[in-house]
Each structure stands twice: as structure tokens, then as C-alpha cells.
Symmetry: C2
Subunit: 268 residues, 2 copies
Amino acid sequence: MAPTPSASFYPKYQTRWQSTKSLLCVGLDSDIAQLPDCVLAEANPIWEFNRRIIDATADHACAYKPNLAFYLSDGLRGLEALQRTVEYIPEEIPVILDCKVGDIGNTMEQYAVSYFDRMGFDAITLNPLMGSDVLKPILKRPGAFAFALALTSNPSAEEFFLSAKMAAKVSGWINNYPLEQLGAVVGATQGGDLKRMREQLPGRIFLIPGVGAQGGDLDCVLKNAADSAEMPNILINSSRGIIFREKTPRFAQAAGLAAKELKGLAIV
Amino acid sequence: MAPTPSASFYPKYQTRWQSTKSLLCVGLDSDIAQLPDCVLAEANPIWEFNRRIIDATADHACAYKPNLAFYLSDGLRGLEALQRTVEYIPEEIPVILDCKVGDIGNTMEQYAVSYFDRMGFDAITLNPLMGSDVLKPILKRPGAFAFALALTSNPSAEEFFLSAKMAAKVSGWINNYPLEQLGAVVGATQGGDLKRMREQLPGRIFLIPGVGAQGGDLDCVLKNAADSAEMPNILINSSRGIIFREKTPRFAQAAGLAAKELKGLAIV
């Protein structure tokens, strides 16, 4: 069993930002169907791919975010790749599991055991639909951190939940909990939305997906969502735009260059 | 890779109901910390426990529902137990994965690959927060089925989402989709709530947790949530009340008796 993380997410994020000035979260959506041929002959292709991506991008990354779906879809081997990945990422770089988990009671406690205690993630993403019961197993673990879905940019987001009105309600709910344990997933959409979310959630760390492959506008995000130049409190996630930049044997170098470039553009 | 299920959930549920007259869904929340000592020496304790529980309860079960959290928390061995469990359950009994998944796009597609194509589940539970994008990978798989969270009975459910008002909105949303692919998770709470949910969702299969360990009232559920005596369209889930009835070497017999008893009480 992996040890409990030695430092908690919140100070780890702050230290990492201060030492690297990187806002980049490298999304490890390591879809086995998209991997370059040169890793497919390995015993565990996803692990081999991730290992080389991490070696090439670690200097430019503020955080990493593996996405559970892409590991479960490769079965036991995929779960093993996920475990090896989180163990391999340097201790000083926080690792977020994108699992959008949202259950209660004994079930949520077991997810917390799995993701924090056993696998050693620093943070998870969380679906707040069932209310504060979802948070209890996280809040009781000092140092454990979650990003609650607050606003998303997918076409059906406004159908009945994640509208601007509901986002305000979710923001109010998030503000009941400590900055040190709860952040927000804020879909990169319109500048006005980002600005309003930041006004509603001062000091809160935002995990911002959708920059890059999903068409967000980096400058708009930086201008509207950053808290301050000293402590921007944002993580800009990019996955396919970095890890699948090239499907050649030079995939890792290409990822490293893409990460360096995005880090350089994401200046507050 | 496990084959795609040979029959789809909806007809499987109907046939199973007609042949057994059982409304009982046996929840396999097989928490390793709760297992009887006699299985702990096995190479894979959860799998050994489930195998014996299934042997003892299959005659009385309309469906089974493993809960993902309790398998992930045992790591690779736990995921292997889950795979063996779904393969072991007799083909004519539908198996629901309780995972409350709710993501979009490529990520949701990968969860569908994992749970339906690869592991061979007949149905999953689903969190509808992100709207209809969550459903797309399910709807495009003929025979795949999901239960969307519609009303839950946990203390914080009404904080901001799963209130009666929102449940009505979720019900309207659910009614946009075919009865053959989408059901509803309806927490066993007050009779009035159950009655209203049934009025809003005629013909829809309800998965009803919270009867037993969580304190629901069986008669109230049967009276208010059943569609008709011919086709009640409900599954009453019980987990701890069946599988952990006894922590002795006779745990499986005790579970079989408990399942038989609950099946006998749940008569419409």
C-alpha cells in the first residue's frame, strides 16, 4: 500500500507555483488507442508512455492530472499503470485524480481510502450533486483536497444544473469550506463567466480544463480567472495538446516542447 | 476482454421479474474490512466472499449491484474480484455497477468502454449533473442502460440540488430518453416523494437504495413506487442487510436466508 502523501496539496501547489512559475497542469488522458506505436509493444504501454511523458514535462508542470477513465478502460493493466504513474511523479509535484466522484457515507469513505490513502493522490475532482455528505471523508483527512465541479463548458451543461444561476449557488456552497481543502473546476468559457466565478470565489484554487483541445482562450483565462500575480490560484489543464502532440518515437520530446511553450504563454 | 452482454438490461430485467417475482437487488458492497475471517486467508478474499454470496442468493435475486468503491479500495486485487464477480453471476441475472459516473465526451466514452464492453455490466448508475452529454455514449450502445440519480435521501441531498423541485426537473429530463435505456435512482424516503416520482416517471425502472441499513420502509416503497402488480418496475436494493447478516463461516447461508426473506416480503 502506498503511503499517505507526505505533504498536503495546498502548500504543495503554492510551493510548486513559487519555484516554477508554472500554471500548467499536464492532463494524463493516456488513451491507449492514441498511443504512439513505439510504446505498444511494451508490457504496460500506458505506463511506459506516461513515464516518458513525465520525464519530458516535469520541469514545466505545476501539477499532473491523470483521468481515471483512460486507465480503467485498460483493465488491471491500466490500474497498475495508474498506480505506477502516481508513484513515479516527483514528490514535489502535486497529482490530481480526475474521477469526478460523488457518493456518500461508507461508499465515499472507501473512495477516499482508495485515492488518498492507498494510491497516494494529493487531490481528486468531485461531483457535488449529493451535497456536503460527499465532502465529509475528505474534510476529515488533514491535507486531502478536492476540486468540486462548479461550472463546465460542455454543450449540455446548462440543461438544468450548471447554468450561471446554479454556478452562483455552487460557489456559495464551496465558500462554506476551507480554501486549503476545496477548490473549483471552472470550465474555460466566456470571460464574463470566469470573472464572475473569481469574484464569487476569492482565494480559491481553480482547475481550468478546456484550454487547448476544447477551444478555450488562454489570454481570456489568465485575465479573468487569476487571483493575483503573486498567487494566481489557477491550474490550466492541457492534455491532448501536450501528450499527443506527435505520434512518432519523438512523442516525449514533442510533449516537453509543448509543455514548455504553454508554460511560457501562461504568464500572469 | 469480456464479451459485450448478450442480452440488454431492459428485457433481462423484465424476464427475470417474470420468472422469479423477485424485486430484490443484492448490493455487493463487499467491504474487505467487514468480511468474515474465514475468507480472509483466500488469495482474493472479496472474490471468494462474492462467489459464495452469489451461490447462496442467486435464486432470490432479481439483480446484483456491486459498488465500485469497495473494489478499488482493495487495489488491483479488488478490480480483479470485480471482474470475476460480473463474469460469475448467471447470465440471466442483470448486473448493475454502482459507480455514479458523470463525465462527458471522450472520457465518458472510455467509462462506457470499461464498464459495458470490457467488464460486461448490464447497467451502471449515473450522475446527471453535466447534462445529456453524459448519456451520449450510453444511448449509442443498443441495450446499454443507466440509472440516473434523481432523488436521494442522504441528509445533505436538499442542500442545493436534489430537492423536490430539482427532482421534478430531473424527472422531466429523464423523460426525454427511452425507458429501455434510462432508469432512475430514487432514494427511499417519504411515501409522498416516492408517489410523486412515480407519477412523474411512469413506466420507468426505479433503483431504490436505502431499504434496510439506511432505514427505508419496505411497505411504503411497495405501495408508492411500484408501477403495477404486472410490471412493478422497481428494484429494491439491500446490501449490508443481506451480505453481512452474519460474520461466521455460515455467512453465505445467512445471506441466502435474508435474501429469501426480503424477496418474500417485497410482494406487490
